[in-house]
Amino acid sequence: MRSRFDEQLSILNTEMIEMGALCEEAIALASKALTTGDVSLAENVSAISSDIDHKERDIEARCMKLLLQQQPVARDLRQISAALKMITDMERIGDQAEDIAEIITYLEGRTAEETVHIRDMAAETISMVTDSVDAYVKKDTELAKAVIVHDDKVDEYFDRIKGSLIKMIAENSENGEYALDLLMIAKYFERIGDHATNIAEWVIFSVTGEHKSS
């Protein structure tokens, strides 16, 4: 009975990693579409996003089944409850990647200008998501803490981008719509950073049993 339970937990673990990988892929693709202006890439993001949604439902069902049938305690219970929380954040990351991709299709081939730092912000966010999934895989609380600290950098980028976009509108008001679209994209990246932080916090919870609610 126990070994069956362990097996189920390991399947859950695998599915979590797969879902994390899908999230990474979605935002990597969205960011690539942003730098190359390739609208077809952006369209693929929504396919991945729906995969992520399916995965969320699968994992949710599995967690519920485990909770009801096995009535886990202590560490196992923490792992399952943390997984339940994490998939919500992962699903939001997928949705936000999809939203970014949607805005990219409105840009009509215009790419993010280098002066706006939005590419750097995208790169930072991707590394945050990658690190948070890595922290989950390796049960590495140090890495998870690094992710939480990293979020400040992404927030900083958001402020900087906001500033340069204001300047852009002031210089040439024709760029207004474009600048606003970029601002939305930056906001979504900033939100993704927050979700990565949440994931990292739940990783720490599942390992240590302490959740830093801030």
């Binding site: 695998t14 990988a21 892929e25 999934v133």
Partner: protein, 575 residues
């Protein structure tokens, strides 16, 4: 085992005790019954003599509690009874022992009382007057006897149980002890029961066998590890649940992990979708191949399913570093594209000029200029093709005739050829040093110095200086070409030896263009402008690099933007 032995001993002693008790009781009961019957007979014979002599009075005097005397007349009426009133008693003629005594003179019988708790023994004798005298005695039955003995028997049994329990416990322990103390690692050295000697020797043999097998397995494992450890390719074995069974050090480097990942799922070391889906594909289809870049390197992954008796047991992943190969492939692709492009541009100029002439659009006085263009471009084509041939010769590593060459002489020769173009830009071209004899291919060495100086002249502004210096050590000759030209930006330095690589995307535009090129520019002929200005093929430095490599030398470059460039070539003398 101890408890089993204990139980056996205990049960045996208990059974023996009970059986003994039963047998002894039975025998003793029978024995005492017989003795009693004999006594009865004796007493009866005494009583019968007395009765015959004195009659009823004798019997009345003979009082005894132990036995009962009954005198029966020949018609069965009781004449006397020692324990009851004879007048109330029934006719005794039907009693077995009395009937017997009337018939044979003697009779005996025994009867149980109604409650079965007592047994009455009867002896009867026929007296001479025809009457029968009967004697009887009551005794307890065997059952009652046993009941009476119950108390001591229970005590005996309890004592026996306790004693046998203690003894059985001790004995079983003593029997088992040597077995528990057996040293199974050295079974032959034990001094226990000889009955288990065959078992021990068998264990000994099996121990040896296991040791041999373990050693062999260890050796094989070490061999396998040694082989995989020194493999340049990454090797990972997965079981059918995609967990890592083995990973070699090359694979650890590729995936940036350590040996702790063994036992975990592959997903934990890499979750790239293309790789995991390739593993799935290999597990279902048998084989998969993908290319993926990890940590800025290109890898090819060959994944194969492992089967035993038609059942999938896992997969093996082989990772090849194909970064160099991929680079070479990219270079080749670029080269092909560049060559076609570079060949096309002069041809376009030629075709364009020829078309204009053909359609009579060129005035007679412009004719020499147009024909000149055609000739110039044709010459360029020839140069380009010559360069390509030279490069491919160098690529093929064809053996070329070698001789002793003085690098100083070659440098002077090259500078003489270049003096015209240097003079045009008012550039001072000087050669210093001496000798520098090396054993090599003269025309290749000429190409090296010519191309380096040509490049320096091209990228040095008017009135600049280009210096060639030759010095030698015992085994090597050092050639330095330095200028005070525009220099090369650091980001271009690693790539300047690539074929058709150009630093100066804008340089040619500065040189201006004539009407002809301006017309052609609309057809995408900007390169033609650049070439007509520089006269280079974009292959010069490539030829230099390959020529130096051909001679086993080294080339290094130092450059600062707007200050100048120093290129140093060190060639072995090979004398």
């Amino acid at each position: 085992m101890t408890s089993k032995i204990f139980r056996s001993i205990f049960a045996t002693s208990l059974i023996v005790l009970l059986a003994t008790l039963a047998i002894i009781t039975t025998f003793l009961y029978d024995y005492f019954t017989n003795i009693q019957i004999d006594q009865l007979k004796d007493q009866l014979s005494i009583a019968s003599v007395g009765t015959e002599k004195s009659g009823k009075e004798y019997l009345e005097d003979l009082k005894s509690d132990n036995f009962r005397l009954t005198w029966v007349a020949n018609d069965g009426t009781v004449l006397f009874d020692s324990q009851a009133d004879e007048s109330t008693m029934d006719n005794h003629l039907d009693r077995e022992e009395i009937k017997e005594a009337f018939e044979t003179g003697k009779g005996s019988s025994s009867r149980y009382s109604a409650t079965l708790t007592e047994k009455t023994l009867y002896e009867a004798v026929l007296l001479s007057d025809g009457t029968v005298l009967r004697i009887s005695v009551n005794r307890a039955s065997g059952f009652v006897l046993l009941l009476g003995m119950a108390y001591p028997v229970v005590i005996v049994i309890i004592i026996a149980v306790v004693v046998s329990a203690v003894l059985a416990h001790k004995m079983s322990k003593r029997i088992i002890e040597p077995l528990n103390k057996l040293d199974l690692d050295n079974p032959t050295e034990n001094d226990a029961y000889e009955e288990i000697a065959p078992l021990l020797s068998r264990i000994h043999k099996q121990n040896m066998k296991i040791e041999r097998k373990a050693a062999e397995l260890n050796r094989r494992k070490e061999e396998f590890e040694l082989i995989t450890k020194n493999m340049r390719e990454g090797l990972i074995l997965l079981d059918k649940n995609r967990s890592i069974l083995t990973i070699n050090s090359a694979a650890m480097t590729i995936f940036g992990t350590d040996e702790n990942c063994v036992g975990n799922e592959f997903l934990t070391i890499n979750r790239r979708h293309e790789i995991t889906s390739a593993i799935e594909k290999a597990l279902t289809d048998g084989h998969a191949e993908i290319r993926a870049s990890l940590n800025e390197k290109e890898y090819q992954f060959d994944i194969s399913r492992i089967e035993t008796n038609g059942e999938t047991v896992g997969a093996v992943i082989l990772a090849f570093d194909i970064t160099e190969q991929a680079d070479a492939e990219r270079l080749r692709r670029e080269f092909t594209a560049n060559v076609s492009h570079e060949l096309k541009t002069p041809l376009q100029t030629i075709t364009g000029s020829a078309e204009l002439i053909e359609n009579g659009l060129v005035k007679q006085e412009d004719m020499p200029r147009f024909v000149g263009h055609i000739r110039e471009e044709a010459t360029r084509l020839v140069m380009l093709v010559e360069d390509i041939i030279r490069l491919s010769q160098l690529d093929e590593q064809t053996e070329l005739p070698k001789e002793t060459v003085s690098l100083f002489d070659v440098a002077n020769e090259a500078c003489k050829v270049l003096s015209d173009s240097a003079d045009k830009k008012d550039i001072t071209l000087s050669v210093s040093g001496d000798g520098g004899n090396i054993y090599g291919v003269k025309h290749l060495l000429f190409e090296v110095i010519y191309n380096l100086c040509d490049n320096s002249i091209k990228y040095t502004p008017d009135g600049g200086k280009v210096k060639v210096d030759i010095s030698e050590t015992e085994k090597e000759v050092k050639l330095t070409v330095s200028d005070n030209g525009i220099g090369i930006a650091p980001e271009h330095l690693p790539r300047i030896f690539e074929r058709f690589y150009r630093v100066d995307k804008s340089h040619s535009k500065k040189s201006g263009a004539d009407t002809m090129s301006a017309q052609l520019r609309q057809k995408g002929g900007t390169d033609a402008v650049r070439h007509s200005a520089n006269g280079g093929t974009g292959l010069g430095l490539s030829i230099v690099k390959h020529s130096v490599q051909y001679h086993g030398g080294k080339i290094s470059i130092k450059s600062e933007e707007n200050k100048g460039t120093v290129i140093t070539v060190v060639l072995p003398k090979n004398e």
